[in-house]
Assembly symmetry: C2
Homo-oligomer: 231 residues x 2
Amino acid sequence: MTTIKVLAFDVFGTVVDWHGSVAREVAAMGLDVDANAFALAWREGYVPAMQRVMSGELGWTRLDDLHRLILDQVLDRFRVSGLTEEQKWELNRVWHRLDPWPDSVEGLRRLKERYLICTLSNGNLGLLTNMSKHAGLPWDCILSAEVFRKYKPAPETYLGVADVFGVAPADVMLVAAHQDDLDAARGCGLQTAYIERPREFGPTQDKDVSPQPTNTLHARDLVALAAQLGC
Amino acid sequence: MTTIKVLAFDVFGTVVDWHGSVAREVAAMGLDVDANAFALAWREGYVPAMQRVMSGELGWTRLDDLHRLILDQVLDRFRVSGLTEEQKWELNRVWHRLDPWPDSVEGLRRLKERYLICTLSNGNLGLLTNMSKHAGLPWDCILSAEVFRKYKPAPETYLGVADVFGVAPADVMLVAAHQDDLDAARGCGLQTAYIERPREFGPTQDKDVSPQPTNTLHARDLVALAAQLGC
Protein backbone atom coordinates (compact mmCIF):
# COMPACT_ATOMS: atom_id res chain seq x y z
CA MET A 1 0.00 0.00 0.00
CA THR A 2 1.64 3.21 -1.16
CA THR A 3 0.74 6.65 0.10
CA ILE A 4 -2.93 7.51 -0.12
CA LYS A 5 -3.81 11.17 -0.56
CA VAL A 6 -7.40 11.03 -1.74
CA LEU A 7 -10.24 8.70 -0.78
CA ALA A 8 -12.95 8.72 -3.45
CA PHE A 9 -16.24 7.12 -2.44
CA ASP A 10 -18.92 5.41 -4.37
CA VAL A 11 -22.11 6.63 -2.71
CA PHE A 12 -25.26 4.59 -3.52
CA GLY A 13 -25.03 1.46 -1.38
CA THR A 14 -21.55 2.26 -0.08
CA VAL A 15 -22.32 5.39 1.98
CA VAL A 16 -26.11 5.55 1.89
CA ASP A 17 -28.79 2.87 2.11
CA TRP A 18 -30.71 3.43 -1.13
CA HIS A 19 -32.85 0.31 -0.75
CA GLY A 20 -34.09 1.00 2.75
CA SER A 21 -34.63 4.70 2.08
CA VAL A 22 -36.61 4.18 -1.12
CA ALA A 23 -38.65 1.31 0.29
CA ARG A 24 -39.52 3.30 3.44
CA GLU A 25 -40.67 6.30 1.41
CA VAL A 26 -42.73 4.17 -0.99
CA ALA A 27 -44.36 2.42 1.98
CA ALA A 28 -45.04 5.74 3.71
CA MET A 29 -46.80 7.04 0.59
CA GLY A 30 -49.30 4.22 0.99
CA LEU A 31 -48.86 2.95 -2.58
CA ASP A 32 -50.43 -0.47 -3.06
CA VAL A 33 -47.14 -2.15 -3.99
CA ASP A 34 -44.45 -4.33 -2.44
CA ALA A 35 -42.10 -1.53 -1.40
CA ASN A 36 -39.08 -3.84 -1.33
CA ALA A 37 -39.74 -5.05 -4.89
CA PHE A 38 -40.49 -1.50 -6.05
CA ALA A 39 -37.13 -0.24 -4.76
CA LEU A 40 -35.29 -3.13 -6.39
CA ALA A 41 -37.06 -2.59 -9.72
CA TRP A 42 -36.22 1.12 -9.71
CA ARG A 43 -32.56 0.39 -9.08
CA GLU A 44 -32.50 -2.39 -11.69
CA GLY A 45 -33.21 0.21 -14.34
CA TYR A 46 -30.10 2.17 -13.37
CA VAL A 47 -27.35 0.40 -15.32
CA PRO A 48 -29.38 -0.02 -18.53
CA ALA A 49 -30.36 3.68 -18.41
CA MET A 50 -26.73 4.79 -18.07
CA GLN A 51 -25.78 2.46 -20.89
CA ARG A 52 -28.19 4.34 -23.16
CA VAL A 53 -26.15 7.46 -22.42
CA MET A 54 -22.75 5.81 -22.74
CA SER A 55 -23.73 4.16 -26.04
CA GLY A 56 -24.70 7.55 -27.45
CA GLU A 57 -28.40 6.65 -27.83
CA LEU A 58 -29.12 9.48 -25.37
CA GLY A 59 -27.05 12.65 -25.12
CA TRP A 60 -25.61 13.55 -21.72
CA THR A 61 -28.45 13.01 -19.24
CA ARG A 62 -28.25 13.57 -15.51
CA LEU A 63 -29.10 10.74 -13.16
CA ASP A 64 -32.12 12.72 -11.88
CA ASP A 65 -33.61 12.51 -15.36
CA LEU A 66 -32.68 8.85 -15.80
CA HIS A 67 -34.28 8.09 -12.42
CA ARG A 68 -37.47 9.72 -13.68
CA LEU A 69 -37.49 7.77 -16.95
CA ILE A 70 -37.13 4.54 -14.95
CA LEU A 71 -39.73 5.62 -12.37
CA ASP A 72 -42.34 6.08 -15.08
CA GLN A 73 -41.66 2.54 -16.33
CA VAL A 74 -41.74 1.08 -12.82
CA LEU A 75 -45.01 2.82 -11.98
CA ASP A 76 -46.49 1.28 -15.12
CA ARG A 77 -45.13 -2.14 -14.28
CA PHE A 78 -46.51 -2.01 -10.74
CA ARG A 79 -49.81 -0.64 -12.11
CA VAL A 80 -49.66 2.51 -10.02
CA SER A 81 -51.81 5.22 -11.54
CA GLY A 82 -53.29 8.41 -10.20
CA LEU A 83 -50.10 10.08 -9.00
CA THR A 84 -49.96 13.75 -9.95
CA GLU A 85 -46.95 15.12 -11.77
CA GLU A 86 -45.96 16.87 -8.55
CA GLN A 87 -46.15 13.61 -6.59
CA LYS A 88 -43.99 11.85 -9.18
CA TRP A 89 -41.46 14.69 -9.08
CA GLU A 90 -41.37 14.49 -5.30
CA LEU A 91 -41.02 10.69 -5.29
CA ASN A 92 -38.16 10.96 -7.79
CA ARG A 93 -36.41 13.27 -5.33
CA VAL A 94 -36.21 10.43 -2.81
CA TRP A 95 -32.70 9.86 -4.21
CA HIS A 96 -31.78 13.28 -2.77
CA ARG A 97 -32.95 12.12 0.68
CA LEU A 98 -31.23 8.77 1.11
CA ASP A 99 -30.20 7.94 4.66
CA PRO A 100 -26.61 7.07 5.53
CA TRP A 101 -25.60 3.70 6.91
CA PRO A 102 -25.20 4.00 10.72
CA ASP A 103 -21.38 4.13 10.51
CA SER A 104 -21.03 6.48 7.53
CA VAL A 105 -20.94 9.90 9.18
CA GLU A 106 -18.53 8.86 11.93
CA GLY A 107 -16.32 6.97 9.48
CA LEU A 108 -16.14 9.89 7.07
CA ARG A 109 -15.42 12.38 9.86
CA ARG A 110 -12.49 10.30 11.03
CA LEU A 111 -11.12 9.68 7.52
CA LYS A 112 -11.45 13.39 6.69
CA GLU A 113 -8.97 14.26 9.45
CA ARG A 114 -6.16 12.58 7.56
CA TYR A 115 -7.29 12.35 3.92
CA LEU A 116 -9.05 14.40 1.29
CA ILE A 117 -12.44 12.71 0.98
CA CYS A 118 -14.65 13.14 -2.07
CA THR A 119 -17.51 11.42 -3.80
CA LEU A 120 -17.11 9.70 -7.12
CA SER A 121 -20.69 8.84 -7.92
CA ASN A 122 -22.90 8.58 -10.95
CA GLY A 123 -25.37 10.76 -9.08
CA ASN A 124 -25.53 14.33 -10.37
CA LEU A 125 -24.04 17.22 -8.41
CA GLY A 126 -27.37 18.59 -7.21
CA LEU A 127 -28.54 15.16 -6.06
CA LEU A 128 -25.30 14.49 -4.20
CA THR A 129 -25.27 17.93 -2.59
CA ASN A 130 -28.84 17.67 -1.33
CA MET A 131 -28.20 14.14 -0.11
CA SER A 132 -25.06 15.19 1.75
CA LYS A 133 -26.91 18.04 3.45
CA HIS A 134 -29.74 15.66 4.38
CA ALA A 135 -27.44 12.93 5.66
CA GLY A 136 -24.72 15.13 7.18
CA LEU A 137 -21.94 13.73 4.99
CA PRO A 138 -18.84 15.93 5.46
CA TRP A 139 -17.26 15.72 1.98
CA ASP A 140 -14.29 17.88 1.15
CA CYS A 141 -15.47 17.92 -2.45
CA ILE A 142 -18.34 16.45 -4.42
CA LEU A 143 -17.22 14.90 -7.69
CA SER A 144 -19.68 13.27 -10.02
CA ALA A 145 -20.04 11.71 -13.42
CA GLU A 146 -21.59 15.10 -14.24
CA VAL A 147 -18.18 16.78 -13.91
CA PHE A 148 -16.55 14.35 -16.33
CA ARG A 149 -19.59 13.85 -18.56
CA LYS A 150 -19.00 10.10 -18.38
CA TYR A 151 -20.60 7.49 -16.17
CA LYS A 152 -18.61 4.98 -14.16
CA PRO A 153 -17.05 2.59 -15.07
CA ALA A 154 -15.57 4.85 -17.79
CA PRO A 155 -11.83 5.36 -17.09
CA GLU A 156 -12.25 9.15 -17.42
CA THR A 157 -14.07 9.18 -14.09
CA TYR A 158 -11.39 7.39 -12.03
CA LEU A 159 -8.52 9.15 -13.77
CA GLY A 160 -10.46 12.39 -13.48
CA VAL A 161 -10.26 12.29 -9.68
CA ALA A 162 -6.46 12.06 -9.81
CA ASP A 163 -6.32 14.82 -12.40
CA VAL A 164 -8.57 17.20 -10.46
CA PHE A 165 -6.39 16.91 -7.37
CA GLY A 166 -3.08 16.82 -9.23
CA VAL A 167 -1.99 13.46 -7.86
CA ALA A 168 -1.03 10.11 -9.38
CA PRO A 169 -3.79 7.49 -9.83
CA ALA A 170 -2.01 5.32 -7.24
CA ASP A 171 -2.43 8.12 -4.68
CA VAL A 172 -6.20 7.72 -4.95
CA MET A 173 -8.18 4.93 -3.28
CA LEU A 174 -11.68 4.13 -4.49
CA VAL A 175 -13.97 3.00 -1.67
CA ALA A 176 -16.98 1.02 -2.85
CA ALA A 177 -19.35 -1.83 -2.02
CA HIS A 178 -19.24 -3.12 -5.60
CA GLN A 179 -16.49 -5.26 -7.07
CA ASP A 180 -17.09 -4.12 -10.65
CA ASP A 181 -16.55 -0.48 -9.69
CA LEU A 182 -13.35 -1.43 -7.84
CA ASP A 183 -12.14 -3.56 -10.72
CA ALA A 184 -12.48 -0.65 -13.14
CA ALA A 185 -10.69 1.69 -10.73
CA ARG A 186 -7.86 -0.78 -10.27
CA GLY A 187 -7.55 -1.03 -14.03
CA CYS A 188 -6.81 2.70 -14.02
CA GLY A 189 -4.12 2.34 -11.35
CA LEU A 190 -6.14 3.37 -8.30
CA GLN A 191 -5.98 1.57 -4.97
CA THR A 192 -9.24 -0.03 -3.84
CA ALA A 193 -11.14 -0.66 -0.61
CA TYR A 194 -14.16 -2.95 -0.54
CA ILE A 195 -16.95 -2.22 1.97
CA GLU A 196 -19.32 -5.10 2.69
CA ARG A 197 -22.87 -3.72 3.01
CA PRO A 198 -24.53 -7.15 3.02
CA ARG A 199 -28.04 -5.64 3.21
CA GLU A 200 -27.56 -3.25 0.29
CA PHE A 201 -30.38 -4.93 -1.64
CA GLY A 202 -32.68 -5.27 1.34
CA PRO A 203 -33.70 -8.27 3.42
CA THR A 204 -34.66 -10.55 0.51
CA GLN A 205 -31.44 -10.56 -1.53
CA ASP A 206 -28.16 -12.04 -0.42
CA LYS A 207 -24.94 -10.37 -1.48
CA ASP A 208 -21.54 -12.04 -1.72
CA VAL A 209 -19.30 -9.92 0.49
CA SER A 210 -16.34 -12.28 0.65
CA PRO A 211 -12.90 -10.67 0.45
CA GLN A 212 -11.21 -10.49 -2.96
CA PRO A 213 -7.41 -10.52 -2.81
CA THR A 214 -7.28 -8.03 -5.68
CA ASN A 215 -8.43 -5.19 -3.41
CA THR A 216 -5.96 -3.20 -1.34
CA LEU A 217 -8.30 -3.24 1.68
CA HIS A 218 -11.48 -4.99 2.79
CA ALA A 219 -13.57 -3.49 5.59
CA ARG A 220 -16.92 -4.23 7.14
CA ASP A 221 -17.92 -0.56 7.16
CA LEU A 222 -16.46 2.95 7.11
CA VAL A 223 -15.57 3.03 10.81
CA ALA A 224 -13.61 -0.19 10.29
CA LEU A 225 -11.93 1.36 7.25
CA ALA A 226 -10.94 4.39 9.35
CA ALA A 227 -9.41 2.07 11.94
CA GLN A 228 -7.47 0.18 9.26
CA LEU A 229 -6.12 3.46 7.93
CA GLY A 230 -5.06 4.60 11.40
CA CYS A 231 -7.70 7.32 11.70
CA MET B 1 -36.20 39.86 -2.53
CA THR B 2 -37.75 36.62 -3.65
CA THR B 3 -36.96 33.24 -2.17
CA ILE B 4 -33.27 32.39 -2.04
CA LYS B 5 -32.37 28.71 -2.21
CA VAL B 6 -28.70 28.80 -3.09
CA LEU B 7 -25.93 31.18 -2.03
CA ALA B 8 -23.01 31.01 -4.46
CA PHE B 9 -19.82 32.67 -3.27
CA ASP B 10 -16.99 34.31 -5.06
CA VAL B 11 -13.95 33.17 -3.08
CA PHE B 12 -10.73 35.17 -3.73
CA GLY B 13 -11.14 38.40 -1.81
CA THR B 14 -14.71 37.66 -0.74
CA VAL B 15 -14.14 34.65 1.54
CA VAL B 16 -10.34 34.49 1.77
CA ASP B 17 -7.67 37.19 2.06
CA TRP B 18 -5.50 36.46 -0.96
CA HIS B 19 -3.40 39.60 -0.58
CA GLY B 20 -2.43 39.11 3.02
CA SER B 21 -1.87 35.38 2.62
CA VAL B 22 0.36 35.71 -0.43
CA ALA B 23 2.30 38.67 1.00
CA ARG B 24 2.89 36.85 4.29
CA GLU B 25 4.20 33.75 2.54
CA VAL B 26 6.47 35.76 0.21
CA ALA B 27 7.85 37.66 3.19
CA ALA B 28 8.38 34.45 5.15
CA MET B 29 10.38 32.98 2.25
CA GLY B 30 12.84 35.82 2.69
CA LEU B 31 12.69 36.90 -0.96
CA ASP B 32 14.31 40.29 -1.47
CA VAL B 33 11.12 41.92 -2.77
CA ASP B 34 8.33 44.18 -1.55
CA ALA B 35 5.88 41.42 -0.56
CA ASN B 36 2.89 43.72 -0.87
CA ALA B 37 3.85 44.76 -4.41
CA PHE B 38 4.65 41.16 -5.33
CA ALA B 39 1.20 39.95 -4.25
CA LEU B 40 -0.48 42.75 -6.18
CA ALA B 41 1.56 42.04 -9.31
CA TRP B 42 0.70 38.34 -9.19
CA ARG B 43 -3.00 39.09 -8.90
CA GLU B 44 -2.84 41.73 -11.65
CA GLY B 45 -1.91 38.99 -14.08
CA TYR B 46 -5.09 37.09 -13.27
CA VAL B 47 -7.67 38.74 -15.53
CA PRO B 48 -5.37 38.98 -18.58
CA ALA B 49 -4.43 35.31 -18.19
CA MET B 50 -8.08 34.21 -18.08
CA GLN B 51 -8.79 36.39 -21.10
CA ARG B 52 -6.20 34.39 -23.06
CA VAL B 53 -8.31 31.31 -22.32
CA MET B 54 -11.65 32.94 -23.01
CA SER B 55 -10.40 34.40 -26.32
CA GLY B 56 -9.31 30.95 -27.45
CA GLU B 57 -5.62 31.83 -27.56
CA LEU B 58 -5.11 29.14 -24.90
CA GLY B 59 -7.20 25.98 -24.65
CA TRP B 60 -8.91 25.27 -21.34
CA THR B 61 -6.28 25.95 -18.68
CA ARG B 62 -6.78 25.58 -14.95
CA LEU B 63 -6.13 28.53 -12.69
CA ASP B 64 -3.23 26.63 -11.06
CA ASP B 65 -1.46 26.66 -14.41
CA LEU B 66 -2.35 30.29 -15.13
CA HIS B 67 -1.02 31.23 -11.68
CA ARG B 68 2.25 29.54 -12.56
CA LEU B 69 2.55 31.32 -15.93
CA ILE B 70 2.04 34.63 -14.14
CA LEU B 71 4.41 33.72 -11.31
CA ASP B 72 7.24 33.12 -13.75
CA GLN B 73 6.67 36.59 -15.24
CA VAL B 74 6.47 38.22 -11.82
CA LEU B 75 9.65 36.53 -10.62
CA ASP B 76 11.39 37.92 -13.72
CA ARG B 77 9.97 41.37 -13.17
CA PHE B 78 11.05 41.43 -9.51
CA ARG B 79 14.45 40.01 -10.54
CA VAL B 80 14.11 36.95 -8.31
CA SER B 81 16.38 34.18 -9.50
CA GLY B 82 17.74 31.06 -7.89
CA LEU B 83 14.45 29.46 -6.86
CA THR B 84 14.39 25.75 -7.62
CA GLU B 85 11.52 24.27 -9.61
CA GLU B 86 10.28 22.69 -6.40
CA GLN B 87 10.32 26.05 -4.61
CA LYS B 88 8.38 27.67 -7.45
CA TRP B 89 5.84 24.83 -7.41
CA GLU B 90 5.45 25.22 -3.66
CA LEU B 91 5.11 29.01 -3.89
CA ASN B 92 2.47 28.61 -6.58
CA ARG B 93 0.51 26.43 -4.17
CA VAL B 94 0.10 29.40 -1.82
CA TRP B 95 -3.27 29.90 -3.54
CA HIS B 96 -4.32 26.56 -2.00
CA ARG B 97 -3.43 27.88 1.47
CA LEU B 98 -5.18 31.25 1.58
CA ASP B 99 -6.50 32.26 4.98
CA PRO B 100 -10.15 33.17 5.51
CA TRP B 101 -11.26 36.60 6.62
CA PRO B 102 -11.98 36.50 10.39
CA ASP B 103 -15.76 36.37 9.88
CA SER B 104 -15.86 33.84 7.01
CA VAL B 105 -16.10 30.51 8.81
CA GLU B 106 -18.72 31.71 11.31
CA GLY B 107 -20.71 33.45 8.60
CA LEU B 108 -20.72 30.41 6.33
CA ARG B 109 -21.66 28.06 9.18
CA ARG B 110 -24.68 30.21 9.98
CA LEU B 111 -25.73 30.63 6.36
CA LYS B 112 -25.37 26.89 5.76
CA GLU B 113 -28.06 26.17 8.34
CA ARG B 114 -30.69 27.74 6.13
CA TYR B 115 -29.27 27.77 2.60
CA LEU B 116 -27.32 25.59 0.24
CA ILE B 117 -23.90 27.27 0.13
CA CYS B 118 -21.45 26.68 -2.70
CA THR B 119 -18.45 28.31 -4.28
CA LEU B 120 -18.58 29.88 -7.73
CA SER B 121 -14.94 30.69 -8.27
CA ASN B 122 -12.48 30.80 -11.12
CA GLY B 123 -10.18 28.72 -8.93
CA ASN B 124 -9.93 25.08 -10.03
CA LEU B 125 -11.59 22.29 -8.04
CA GLY B 126 -8.36 21.00 -6.50
CA LEU B 127 -7.28 24.48 -5.44
CA LEU B 128 -10.67 25.25 -3.88
CA THR B 129 -10.85 21.88 -2.11
CA ASN B 130 -7.39 22.21 -0.57
CA MET B 131 -8.11 25.81 0.41
CA SER B 132 -11.39 24.85 2.04
CA LYS B 133 -9.72 22.10 4.06
CA HIS B 134 -6.95 24.54 5.07
CA ALA B 135 -9.34 27.32 6.02
CA GLY B 136 -12.20 25.22 7.42
CA LEU B 137 -14.78 26.47 4.93
CA PRO B 138 -17.91 24.30 5.27
CA TRP B 139 -19.19 24.34 1.68
CA ASP B 140 -22.09 22.12 0.72
CA CYS B 141 -20.62 21.89 -2.78
CA ILE B 142 -17.59 23.26 -4.57
CA LEU B 143 -18.44 24.65 -8.00
CA SER B 144 -15.79 26.14 -10.20
CA ALA B 145 -15.13 27.52 -13.64
CA GLU B 146 -13.54 24.10 -14.14
CA VAL B 147 -16.97 22.44 -14.01
CA PHE B 148 -18.39 24.73 -16.68
CA ARG B 149 -15.17 25.11 -18.68
CA LYS B 150 -15.78 28.87 -18.74
CA TYR B 151 -14.35 31.59 -16.55
CA LYS B 152 -16.50 34.20 -14.85
CA PRO B 153 -17.97 36.53 -16.00
CA ALA B 154 -19.23 34.12 -18.71
CA PRO B 155 -23.01 33.65 -18.31
CA GLU B 156 -22.57 29.85 -18.40
CA THR B 157 -21.03 29.99 -14.93
CA TYR B 158 -23.86 31.88 -13.20
CA LEU B 159 -26.60 30.03 -15.07
CA GLY B 160 -24.68 26.82 -14.44
CA VAL B 161 -25.20 27.13 -10.69
CA ALA B 162 -28.98 27.34 -11.13
CA ASP B 163 -28.92 24.45 -13.59
CA VAL B 164 -26.83 22.17 -11.33
CA PHE B 165 -29.26 22.62 -8.45
CA GLY B 166 -32.41 22.60 -10.58
CA VAL B 167 -33.60 26.04 -9.48
CA ALA B 168 -34.42 29.30 -11.25
CA PRO B 169 -31.63 31.89 -11.62
CA ALA B 170 -33.61 34.20 -9.32
CA ASP B 171 -33.41 31.54 -6.58
CA VAL B 172 -29.61 31.93 -6.56
CA MET B 173 -27.78 34.81 -4.89
CA LEU B 174 -24.19 35.54 -5.83
CA VAL B 175 -22.15 36.83 -2.90
CA ALA B 176 -19.03 38.75 -3.94
CA ALA B 177 -16.74 41.63 -3.08
CA HIS B 178 -16.55 42.73 -6.72
CA GLN B 179 -19.18 44.79 -8.51
CA ASP B 180 -18.27 43.46 -11.98
CA ASP B 181 -18.90 39.88 -10.86
CA LEU B 182 -22.23 40.91 -9.33
CA ASP B 183 -23.20 42.89 -12.42
CA ALA B 184 -22.66 39.85 -14.63
CA ALA B 185 -24.65 37.63 -12.26
CA ARG B 186 -27.50 40.13 -12.16
CA GLY B 187 -27.51 40.19 -15.95
CA CYS B 188 -28.26 36.44 -15.80
CA GLY B 189 -31.15 36.95 -13.39
CA LEU B 190 -29.39 36.08 -10.12
CA GLN B 191 -29.84 38.06 -6.92
CA THR B 192 -26.68 39.73 -5.61
CA ALA B 193 -25.04 40.52 -2.27
CA TYR B 194 -22.02 42.82 -2.07
CA ILE B 195 -19.44 42.23 0.68
CA GLU B 196 -17.14 45.17 1.42
CA ARG B 197 -13.63 43.79 2.11
CA PRO B 198 -11.99 47.23 2.09
CA ARG B 199 -8.50 45.74 2.65
CA GLU B 200 -8.74 43.20 -0.17
CA PHE B 201 -5.78 44.78 -1.93
CA GLY B 202 -3.72 45.28 1.20
CA PRO B 203 -2.87 48.39 3.19
CA THR B 204 -1.68 50.52 0.26
CA GLN B 205 -4.69 50.41 -2.04
CA ASP B 206 -8.06 51.92 -1.30
CA LYS B 207 -11.20 50.19 -2.52
CA ASP B 208 -14.55 51.84 -3.12
CA VAL B 209 -16.97 49.84 -1.00
CA SER B 210 -19.93 52.20 -1.21
CA PRO B 211 -23.35 50.60 -1.60
CA GLN B 212 -24.74 50.23 -5.12
CA PRO B 213 -28.54 50.24 -5.29
CA THR B 214 -28.44 47.61 -8.03
CA ASN B 215 -27.50 44.90 -5.53
CA THR B 216 -30.13 43.01 -3.57
CA LEU B 217 -28.06 43.22 -0.37
CA HIS B 218 -24.96 45.04 0.91
CA ALA B 219 -23.11 43.69 3.93
CA ARG B 220 -19.89 44.51 5.72
CA ASP B 221 -18.91 40.85 6.02
CA LEU B 222 -20.37 37.34 6.03
CA VAL B 223 -21.57 37.45 9.63
CA ALA B 224 -23.46 40.64 8.78
CA LEU B 225 -24.91 38.93 5.70
CA ALA B 226 -26.06 36.01 7.87
CA ALA B 227 -27.79 38.46 10.20
CA GLN B 228 -29.50 40.20 7.28
CA LEU B 229 -30.74 36.86 6.02
CA GLY B 230 -32.11 35.91 9.45
CA CYS B 231 -29.50 33.21 10.10
